[in-house]
Symmetry: C2
Subunit: 419 residues, 2 copies
């Protein structure tokens, strides 16, 4: 497994101009979204670029929860600019968009579908060299600064999918916890739920030595390898931080210790799931986001309806872990204990229920919408949600327990109402 | 911080021929030592090279505890061979020698001292590109497969020093726990003590934000950054594995679970100290090894006297941690607890004594020689031992507590006898 470079510390963003100088960058593309372009994280980067006289162009048109079209717009900008380095300042939406822009600008004759995950795209391996990309995460969520993944919403198919290749992993992630202080409550909550699910899913994913097919040539193995003793370290550590700090980080924007810890947990969980993979919560989240009707989350300063990624993964988590627990019940119980359950008298066969209840309580305490019904779905949508999950094999195959279409229907149904 | 690629699993060595094919290697240099060249780990590599038709030359002349001269011999071999890839099969001695061979063969006009750590050498930054190096560790000790460090004994100066640069970090580490099964008892013990000290020293090293000078340009910062929240995860995890498995691994060569866990712990601790650094046990170990008189350790199949690296670091550990504890007493107490001490009624100001006692008991149970006196040193040697420690600033500066020459004398004196 490979792990990215990261630099951590309050204020380390001020060094980014020097990093770009060290890279010999002469034309830098700075990407962000319109909301962030007015906020302190982008300011800190701009100051450093100015101080070191870095020549750059800014693209602040990233769409929150990107689409194929918004990726293409950014790619067009990148191709025109002929950049020799990229800087992404934002959450997963910005970092993912920047990865795609760098990839297709570096491979200008490729068709957009070439690198998109199969079976939706062609899933071709990346063989062109990319330009350096420095990621400056501003949410504590996706861990995208550490992963070779870029996710977007394929509008035509109404489903989220992505690009997955070690080649698009950022060259450097600058984890500066000061950037998390400007996040409003729901953004902290939803991006934190993403960390929670990355940790839980990668810890319970199919073990690396049970995955099949396992291509005999290492070069053909997917980035997602299944749970393994190394990703376990990251997943458990991230889960412990989430248990200790997520509520504090959500409730008190001044709690620097909590916000800084969540910022690190996001990268830790990213390293974990970037190697082990995620499974059902993520596989099922893609149609939940992709089929969004009119839901507009609080605190998101955007003009379109959307289900924030972290919310779309966490809403099915009680049902998913109740379903998967029969495979690794000890790990499910351990996770429940870390999240605060008293398991002294627990029976191992109840592991799934116990973890599900613990998650429900956790979400209830944090005022999370009461299930898929609360964000606009009804029973009638279940066939479409299942259909949108089927092409997500890349992740659903990593579920420790195989699922039929009926199983998926039941999981969506059980997630309609949580409390 | 940067972390290497590693692949873990029983039997994964058989893929190495494919890895070399994927790298397009046409002339491979296989390095090992004369003892290992007769043992299963080298056999497994040879089988895979044969299966995939890899063209290679073998160098089995690595010296256990390498010297400047033994490095130079390997470098001469590498220069002549004009290799395009390297494979190192062995403990730290082999992997370190192979790193040096790759470096100087890739930079043929450099003087040997150019890259050696200052103040002994010139400590020049490495700017030449190196060839890929695949490391296959056979001890559970140095973690050299994950670090940018190569250590040798500078005979003329009678002191160990090294080369430290991210550029010499192996491209891939293949961690195949089957290779640990052939280790005799004392090699398991001594290499395991190295893991123990890597974990303890990196966890207690000066925190990253207190290190000075901190070069303002990130490119000039040393590989050793001081303890930080990321290296802490690795150090603590490695320490827990050592506490649980080291004794079992030493006592029972058939205990595959224990040996496999120690093999992983070695890499984990390597990732930790490779980023955070080590401090006094390591700084003081270099003259302890370098000034060796006639000590010949049991189970080492070699013709010269030597103090195995792991033994040379662990013998001062009780004295060192009693000395450093006043700076981070909680961390020292936490380490003692992980190693089995009952700290329920412990006073924080006793943290150093408690950790020192715990270490002494740990070493006593494992039949470790009773201090520096037992390996041939007396009070009269202390001035020379102190003198040999002074140039080890690269690590001694990472001690949480600064030390005078008198402090160092006292630490050596306190380490003469342990029990
Ligand atoms: N690449 C990966 O590995 C990976 C993993 C998980 C999710 N994702 C993807 O990432 C996207 C979600 O990213 P996200 O959760 O980080 O959120 P986001 O990037 O979508 O941002 C959400 C909102 O928060 C705002 N925001 C971000 N940082 C802020 C700050 N510091 N202060 C104030 N406002 C701030 C943004 O402007 C935006 O309005 C989804 O598309 C998801 O699918 C990617
Ligand atoms: N590069 C780093 O990061 C780093 C860190 C710590 C120490 N070191 C250096 O590494 C060296 C010590 O390395 P080490 O402790 O791994 O031991 P080693 O490489 O010196 O080997 C010790 C002995 O064990 C034998 N051996 C190794 N594996 C075996 C196996 N599987 N079965 C049977 N015998 C086996 C060897 O043949 C040798 O005789 C020292 O020079 C030390 O300074 C380097
Ligand atoms: Fe996610
Ligand atoms: Fe060591």
């Amino acid at each position: 497994m490979a792990i990215s470079n990261i630099r951590y510390g309050e204020g380390v963003t001020k060094e980014i101009g020097m990093d770009l100088q060290n890279l010999g960058a002469r034309r830098v593309c700075l990407m962000t979204d319109q909301n962030l372009s007015q906020l302190p994280p982008v300011n800190a980067v701009l100051n450093s670029l100015a101080k070191y006289g870095i020549n750059f162009q800014m693209y602040d048109n990233v769409r929150v929860e990107p689409t194929d079209q918004s990726f293409l717009d950014a790619i067009t900008f990148a191709k025109k600019g002929e950049f020799d380095a990229y800087v992404a300042v934002g959450g997963g939406s910005v970092i993912d968009t920047c990865k795609a822009a760098n990839l297709y600008a570096s491979s200008p004759t490729s068709d957009f579908l070439d690198y998109v995950n199969a079976p939706i795209g062609k899933g071709k391996p990346v063989t062109v060299p990319l330009k350096p990309l420095i990621a400056v995460p501003t949410t504590a969520g996706t861990g995208s600064e550490t992963t070779g993944v870029a996710i977007f919403d394929f509008k035509e198919l109404k489903v989220k999918t992505g690009i997955a290749s070690r080649a698009i992993k950022p060259t450097l992630g600058i984890i500066d916890p000061l950037h998390t202080l400007s996040m409003p409550e729901r953004i902290v909550a939803n991006s934190g739920f993403d960390v929670l699910c990355h940790a839980l899913e990668s810890y319970t994913a199919l073990p690396y030595n049970m995955r099949s097919p396992c291509p005999s040539n290492p070069i053909n193995r997917p980035a997602y390898q299944g749970s393994n003793p190394i990703s376990d370290v990251w997943a458990l550590h991230a889960l412990r931080i989430v248990a200790k700090y997520l509520k504090r980080a959500i409730r008190n924007p001044e709690d620097r210790e909590a916000r800084a810890n969540m910022h690190l947990a996001s990268a830790f969980a990213g390293i974990g799931f970037g190697n082990a993979g995620v499974h059902l919560c993520h596989g099922m989240s893609y149609p939940i986001s992709g089929l969004v009707k009119t839901y507009k989350p609080k605190d998101y300063n955007v003009d379109h309806s959307l289900v924030p990624h972290g919310l779309s993964v966490v809403l099915t988590s009680p049902a998913v872990f109740a379903f998967t627990a029969q495979i690794h019940p000890e790990r499910h119980l351990e996770a429940a204990e870390i999240l605060g359950a008293d398991i002294r008298t627990a029976r191992i066969k109840d592991a799934g229920f116990i973890l599900a209840d613990t998650l429900r309580k956790f979400l209830f305490d944090l005022n999370v919408d009461d299930g898929l019904a609360a964000i606009g779905y009804s029973k009638a949508d279940i066939p479409a949600l299942v259909k949108g999950t089927l092409p997500q094999e890349r992740v659903t195959k990593l579920s420790p327990r195989p699922q039929t279409e009926d199983d998926l229907s039941a999981l969506f149904e059980a997630s309609m109402k949580l409390y």
